[in-house]
């Protein structure tokens, strides 16, 4: 048999080589454009580096990171962020799933609703922030006006002045904003499910709920995985909305790590510490993402 390989034609690439070749363009672009910035930012995170004191710049190893452990603001921000992620993620995923399921049905006005579902996405962050500010405004806000006209409140409230209020309303605004991404991904995921599977499940006496858990969910695990990862990432980095609505207040109630990070880098121009914050965010989201992957990837990994 060995002789045969002698006159075999040019061997095509093996799966390994093919895969790397296919990944090459993406890897080159990414490496070219972000490898340096990412590496640089990590390097900076090992420095004492405040632009206000450029002459004091020096390499300090992991001091920025160790200092975080005793950094009150940071520890509090981690707590706030974690809570924010949980609330926003929970709401987003549930709402997005319901909306995607609705959109996956046939009914009049579906196209319109789908376009509306994309609307919050298309709104530039600044406009979005201002929109929510005018809505939640204590003096002239639309929410106050609406609730009062509906007779639900007697007088205008300052929704964002209590810690919990600020937190919840900020989260609501954030959810409105990040909903479209999840909806689109889940909806596209839904559209890949062959309808005959639902037929089969219906005949197998599965009601709507069981069809959902037994057919829809397994098929949605991977799209859900993306949604979870990205929404976690987004919620951890939520900045625009929070900044415009509360600036992180009252007190520390809505100061998330992202807010702290942006403030540290841009307002305090402390690049060293800011980069360390950024890498902590990276590490946390990476850890959570790997957790999601470990939880969902294999379960949803089947071929049709």
């Amino acid at each position: 048999m060995a002789a045969l390989t002698g006159f075999a034609e040019r061997r095509p690439l093996g799966d390994n080589a093919k895969a790397w070749a296919l990944n090459a363009p993406a890897m080159v672009v990414i490496a070219l454009l972000v490898a340096y910035p990412i590496g640089y930012s990590f390097y900076v995170s090992l420095q004492k580096n405040n632009l206000k004191r450029p002459r004091a710049k020096r390499f300090i190893g992991f001091d920025n990171y160790t200092s975080l452990l005793s950094d009150h603001a940071f520890l509090n921000a981690v707590k706030v962020s974690a809570l924010f992620v949980v609330v926003v993620l929970g709401l987003t995923v549930v709402l997005a799933l319901i909306l995607a399921l609705v959109l996956n049905e046939r009914f009049r006005g579906r196209g319109l609703l789908l376009s509306l579902a994309l609307l919050p996405w298309a709104m530039p962050g600044v406009v979005n922030g201002l929109m929510w500010r005018t809505i939640f405004d204590a003096k002239t806000g639309a929410l106050n006006g609406l609730l009062q006209q509906l007779g639900l409140i007697d007088s205008y409230h300052a929704w964002l002045t209590s810690g919990t209020g600020a937190f919840l309303f900020t989260a609501l605004a954030q959810v409105w904003n990040t909903l479209p991404f999840s909806v689109i991904i889940l909806l596209a995921g839904l559209s890949t499910i062959p309808s005959e599977l639902y037929d089969a499940a219906t005949v197998d006496r599965a009601g709507a709920w069981r069809r959902f858990t037994e057919v829809t969910v397994p098929w949605l695990l991977h799209p859900l995985l993306i949604v979870l990862i990205l929404e976690t990432m987004n919620a951890f980095r939520a900045f625009d909305t929070i900044y415009v609505l509360t600036g992180g207040g009252p007190g520390d109630a809505t100061t998330t790590i992202a807010l702290l990070d942006v403030q540290t880098v841009l307002t305090f121009t402390d690049f060293g510490l800011g980069s360390a914050y950024a890498w902590v965010i990276t590490a946390i989201t990476l850890l959570i993402s790997v957790g999601y992957i470990g939880l969902l990837y294999r379960k949803g990994n089947f071929e049709v």
């Binding site: 062959p194 005959e196 037929d199 089969a200 599965a206 069981r210 098929w219 089947f302 071929e303 049709v304």
Partner: protein, 369 residues
């Protein structure tokens, strides 16, 4: 559950009518087989019965109760899909056990029943594979397993054996029949295999372009087809047809065509108008006899094609432009173009109106054993 009744059921897909004013009653515990050419509406009919497709018109009743508005999961029917529709994300075991799980059968019972079904279907060692890793026939067996493992009021099986080899098919056929007897429920079965249809069914409904042509016992269908379409459709190789007209010669009714003259016995319809006289004579290949030597009343012809079918030989004979197929026992020793004498069993002749193909005359019912 039990009796399935379709009343005036019509289904059209955007103008194209797939099932046309169907009236059909499947008795309790009956085994009804739907046959018909590809695209005649068999699957659509099953899908309507099972509730996956809503009839454009007409209504469906289970045991006299209308179910048109009942969703499929409440209809208590089990179905094998023509396209299998296996759950790609579940293992074979989970696929088969799914309906049981939905019916809240205890886990232990499920795994036992699944195992038993898998044993029956000879897919016991595939239980932990995903459908993706199965061969065509294996997938089909999983689909079958999914339907038969559970208890249902009616079983709808859409070509459940088409991708299986003959051996397995025979076994599976027996299993399905046994299940039918065991559970004593209504079965509606779609198949293209005539042997299957003939051997398994209490009744056969022959469909064509969404319309039921005849619904009767297998013998009836085979022996006394309601029209030329049914006669042609059932039986393989199909019945021979010769177009000609009725004539009264020498006091006996005779069929006459350019090639053939066949005397008819028994009651034949009175032929009044010339149109009525235009008829088609039908005779099944196994009712055609061939002899090498001339026989009285036999027609001389030439051997055209000889096809061995294993136990029999299918011989096509040319008689003045008409091609007549005869099925004769092996061995057949005449070669191409040899002259052969063709005889028609006079008790097995069929007559159909040339105009619309309705049966005018069929052989007397025979008593078996």
């Amino acid at each position: 559950m039990a009796e399935v009744r379709l009343e005036g059921v019509t289904k059209s897909f955007g103008g194209k009518v797939a099932v046309d004013n169907l009236n059909l009653t499947v008795e309790d515990q009956e085994f009804l087989t739907l046959v018909g050419p590809s695209g005649c509406g068999k699957s659509t009919t099953l899908r309507m019965i099972c509730g996956l497709e809503r009839a454009t018109e007409g209504h469906i009743f289970f045991d006299g109760k209308p179910v048109s508005w009942l969703p499929a999961n409440k209809r208590d029917v089990s179905m094998v899909f023509q396209s299998y529709a296996l759950y790609p994300h579940k293992t074979v075991r989970q696929n088969i056990g799914f309906a049981l799980k939905m019916m809240r059968v205890p886990k232990a019972t499920i795994s036992e029943q699944v195992l038993q079904a898998a044993r029956t279907l000879d897919i016991e060692d595939l239980l932990d594979r995903k459908p993706r890793e199965l061969s065509g026939g294996q997938r089909q067996r999983v689909a079958l397993g999914r339907a038969i493992v559970r208890d249902a009021g009616a079983y709808l099986l859409d070509e459940p054996l088409s991708n299986l080899d003959a051996q397995l098919r025979v076994l599976m056929r027996a299993e399905i029949k046994r299940l039918h007897v065991d559970v004593a429920r209504t079965f509606i079965y779609v198949t293209h295999d005539q042997v299957e249809a003939m051997t398994m069914s209490d009744r056969i409904a022959v469909m064509r372009d969404g319309v039921v042509q005849q619904c009767a016992t297998p013998e009836e269908i085979y022996e006394r087809p309601a029209n030329r379409f049914v006669a042609a459709f059932m039986g393989s190789p199909p019945m021979n047809f010769v177009t000609g007209e009725l004539a009264d010669a020498d006091g006996t009714r005779t069929f006459r065509s350019p090639a053939l003259t066949v005397p008819l016995t028994g009651p034949t319809p009175p032929a009044t108008s010339p149109d009525d006289r235009r008829v088609v004579l039908g005779i099944r290949p196994e009712d055609v006899t061939l002899s090498a030597a001339p026989v009285a009343g036999h027609h001389p012809g030439k051997v055209f094609v000889v096809e061995p079918l294993g136990p029999d030989v299918l011989v096509t004979v040319r008689i003045e432009g008409e091609l007549i197929k005869a099925r004769v026992p092996t061995p057949f020793r005449l070669g191409h173009d040899s002259t052969v004498y063709v005889g028609f069993n006079p008790n097995r002749l069929h007559l159909f109106a040339a105009a619309d193909g309705t049966a005018l005359h069929a052989p007397e019912r025979e008593e078996h054993s």
